[in-house]
């Protein structure tokens, strides 16, 4: 098993997340794409921690922090989506132009 396999896998997952983030028009799907990107970062961190720093696993510590921040981000993001849906009665990303020039 090589480190490069895991890094390539994480890069593929990150690119899929970016594609979904830009393409999707449903606001909930945008949040799901952000979760994919955060998971790609976590996979990178755990891979580095296993292959480059096996004696004192600091990458896993950072992974736990990223998981914490991702959980907080998901909660706040979904609350924002609910608030926008209640005000605008739509979840189309193209119609969320309150702060758009």
């Amino acid at each position: 098993m090589q480190l490069e396999y895991f890094l390539l896998l994480a890069a593929a997952l990150f690119c899929i997340g970016i594609y979904g983030l830009i393409i999707s028009r449903n606001a909930v799907r945008v949040l799901m794409s952000i979760e994919l990107m955060l998971n790609a970062v976590n996979l990178n961190l755990v891979g580095f921690s296993n292959y480059l720093d096996p004696g004192n696993i600091k990458g896993q510590v950072f992974t736990v922090f990223v998981i914490t921040v991702a959980a907080a981000e998901a909660a706040v993001g979904l609350a924002i989506v609910l608030a926008i849906y209640r005000n605008r009665n739509t979840i189309d990303m193209e119609q969320f132009n309150l702060l758009k020039w």
Binding site: I16, N39, L52, A72, L78, A79, L82, T90, I91
Partner: protein, 204 residues
């Protein structure tokens, strides 16, 4: 190649194929409920990859937090927001999709060449940590104590913020309802004004 390496490679292949397939399903499927369930597949397969990387505590935390909390939260949000709406057609959407795909492929090619070209300084001398939970706990309570406490404060702030953002403003509705109940006996005209007032307030 002994048996352990073969098992590792085969399970890595299965998990990688599962992860890429379900991630593509999350992004590309038209029905959002299906993509929410496939997101759980992504999280579970990433947890399996963590186990392959000797990170057992992080794998358990991944399943607990992501599949148990985040995915259920996303499903609840989909159920609250789920309106079958046909998005209006936009001009030039195909160009946007194609250009985004090209940019993502370019980014993947860039990252891939970077990964393959870089000479990683692999550490094969130091012994691996046997008990990762003990090691993680030592890190959390010695050199990463301040980020650990800040993470707890961040979770508290996120919880309060989510409650404030998602709270339906109950006060105008309850006032209006009480007014209709009480005034329906005496004044039949007032509830209409109250309803329009509260409606205007809700629209703002």
């Amino acid at each position: 190649m002994n048996l352990a390496e073969g098992v590792q490679i085969v399970s890595f292949g299965i998990l990688a194929a599962m992860m890429i397939g379900t991630a593509l399903g999350v992004v590309l499927l038209p029905n959002i409920v299906h993509s929410a369930f496939l997101l759980a597949g992504v999280f579970v397969s990433i947890s399996g990859l963590y186990i392959l990387l000797n990170a057992d505590f992080v794998a358990a935390a991944q399943i607990l937090v992501y599949v148990g909390a985040v995915n259920v939260l996303i499903l609840f949000a989909i159920m609250l927001v789920n309106k079958q709406e046909n998005f209006a057609k936009l001009p030039g959407r195909l160009i946007r999709k194609v250009s985004t795909a090209v940019v993502c492929f370019g980014l993947f090619a860039l990252l891939g060449t970077m990964v393959l070209v870089t000479p990683w300084s692999l550490d094969t001398t130091s012994p691996a940590v046997i008990n990762t939970v003990v090691s993680l706990g030592e890190h959390f309570f010695s050199d990463y104590l301040l980020p650990f406490e800040l993470a707890s404060v961040l979770l508290l702030m996120a919880m309060v913020g989510a409650i404030i953002l998602a709270r339906r403003d109950l006060i105008p509705e309850s006032v209006a309802r009480q007014e209709t109940v009480t005034t329906s006996l005496t004044l039949p005209e007032r509830p209409r004004e109250l309803a329009t007032l509260s409606g205007n307030e809700q629209q703002d």
